[in-house]
């Protein structure tokens, strides 16, 4: 190389903080500076005169012709590809390096290419790691079970996941960049920016929405959807992103309504039955008594929660042993029923006024699958009926 470079030029190139190669149009390395020897781990003498493919090595299935690309880039030093394409270098140790290169050509005294190489291995790795972490998180959010809608400071939609697509009936590409207003029933639109603004100033990083009442979204179909929502904010360089997580509560509301209606129907039947009915837990505790029970026997307001055999209406026997025997017998009867048996018997009960009633009395197990989950005790007053 000394034939074309003076001593002073060599000193300068060796002092450059960037790795530099000079190669000829045949792809032979004619010179490498000190930083290049350090980067590649080769002595200068090992590489001078060697083909550039010793240090810039095509990888699996790559068709790249390094010299052709270097000469192409030398002709167009501002090529956009130079920003994105990196060459793969190999150090003497075998370690692979991602090299960002810049090329200039020299025409005199002969055609040569001056190549600077910057090791961007770590930079590229970091960039890829961040990108891949973003991809993983984004994919998780994309398929999350909640609808997730992100908006920016101006309430423009910046993220819209699959569940949001299904909930609102828009595809993400139709709604990204649009105002959040499109997803709000018109009566909420005027006040909504103030709510967001107050949350922006709030100390809390996230909160449940709907403290001011129920939340509803507006689907493309025009349907209003009752929603449960929480909102969280993330500030990046001072710019907030608001992420709203929404759950469609139509089904829950319908189930709630159905449950209330069913409860009301049950109540109606239970309380309007002519028979006295008690609902017992399998262990014999009284869960409920219907109105006919109190109408017949009076009192009993504090019966709920007590064992059936301790109800105040069993005959008040003075003989303690006899009383205990009867309680035990009733307890065993309840236990038989809890084991699955249907029981029907006559019993005598004493009402709050002290009058004795003859009761046609039954205990029936209520099953869920194989288990007895409750017992229905029913009694009909047959005092007035002639004994058969």
């Amino acid at each position: 190389m000394t034939e074309i470079l003076s001593g002073a030029a060599l000193v300068l190139l060796d002092a450059l903080p960037e790795a530099m190669l000079i190669i000829d149009p045949d792809g032979r390395i004619r010179y490498l500076n000190r930083v290049a020897t350090e980067l590649l781990g080769h002595e200068r003498g090992e590489l001078e005169g060697e083909p550039v493919s010793r240090v810039i090595v095509p990888q699996s299935g790559q068709r790249i012709d390094t010299v052709a690309w270097l000469s192409r880039w030398a002709e167009d030093p501002n090529s956009p590809q130079l920003r994105y394409l990196t060459l793969t270098g190999q150090a003497r140790s075998g370690q692979l390096l991602r090299l960002s290169v810049r090329v200039a050509k020299l025409d005199r005294p002969e055609r040569l290419y001056l190549v600077t190489m910057r090791d961007v291995t770590a930079e590229q790795r970091e960039h890829q790691d961040v990108k891949h972490a973003y991809l993983v998180i984004s994919r998780i959010l994309a398929i999350a079970d909640d609808a997730i809608v992100n908006v920016d400071q101006d309430q423009r939609v910046t993220f819209f996941n699959r569940k949001a697509e299904a909930l609102f009936g828009y595809r993400a590409d139709e709604i990204l960049g649009a105002s959040l207003d499109r997803l709000l029933p018109s009566r909420y639109r005027a006040a909504h920016p103030d709510h967001i603004e107050s949350f922006r100033r709030d100390k809390a990083p996230s909160r449940l929405m709907g403290e001011r009442g129920e939340i509803a979204g507006l689907a493309r179909s025009g349907e209003e959807i009752p929603l449960e929502a929480s909102i969280t904010k993330v500030f990046i360089e001072g710019e907030p992103t608001f992420s709203v997580h929404l759950r469609d509560i139509r089904e829950r509301k319908a189930a709630e309504r159905a449950r209330i209606e069913s409860e009301q129907r049950f109540r109606t039947v239970f309380d309007h039955a002519m028979e006295a009915i008690a609902l017992l837990a399998p262990d014999g505790r009284v869960l409920e008594l219907n109105r006919a029970t109190s109408a017949l026997l009076g009192g009993g307001a504090d019966a709920v929660g007590n064992p059936f055999w301790m109800l105040p209406w069993w005959p008040r026997l003075h003989d303690e042993r006899e009383r205990e025997n009867r309680q035990r017998a009733m307890r065993e009867t309840v236990e038989r029923c809890a084991a699955g048996e249907q029981i029907r018997m006559r019993a005598e009960l004493v009402d709050a006024g002290g009058a004795t009633h003859v009761i046609d009395f039954s205990l029936r197990p209520v099953r869920a699958g194989d288990d007895v989950v409750a017992i229905v005790a029913e009694g009909r007053d047959i005092t007035a009926l002639p004994a058969s």
């Binding site: 990888q59 699996s60 299935g61 790559q62 068709r63 994105y84 984004s138 994309a142 595809r171």
Partner: protein, 106 residues
Amino acid sequence: MPRVTYVEANGTEHVVDVPVGASVMQGAINNLVPGIEGDCGGLCACATCHVYVPPEWAKRCGEPEELEVNILDFAFDVKPESRLSCQIHVTPQLDGLVVHMPTRQY
């Protein structure tokens, strides 16, 4: 909207509706399909949206231009069916297109 199936090197399939006019690369990026990077954003300058197009679809995808063929030099595991997905623009005729992704883009 034409439907495109992206098959990862491990066999995982992603079925995505891509608007007419968008590139196959954009369809993947917008739908978070792993395996296509698209670093340069579609300038045909980075070779990180490399895919394999099965021969039965090759014709409908159109012939690659010279720049694309050149940039493919930088892609890994290049085969005769290699394309850069940023240079394939979705048309109604591409409904049902299947593209396979290589094991690496870097």
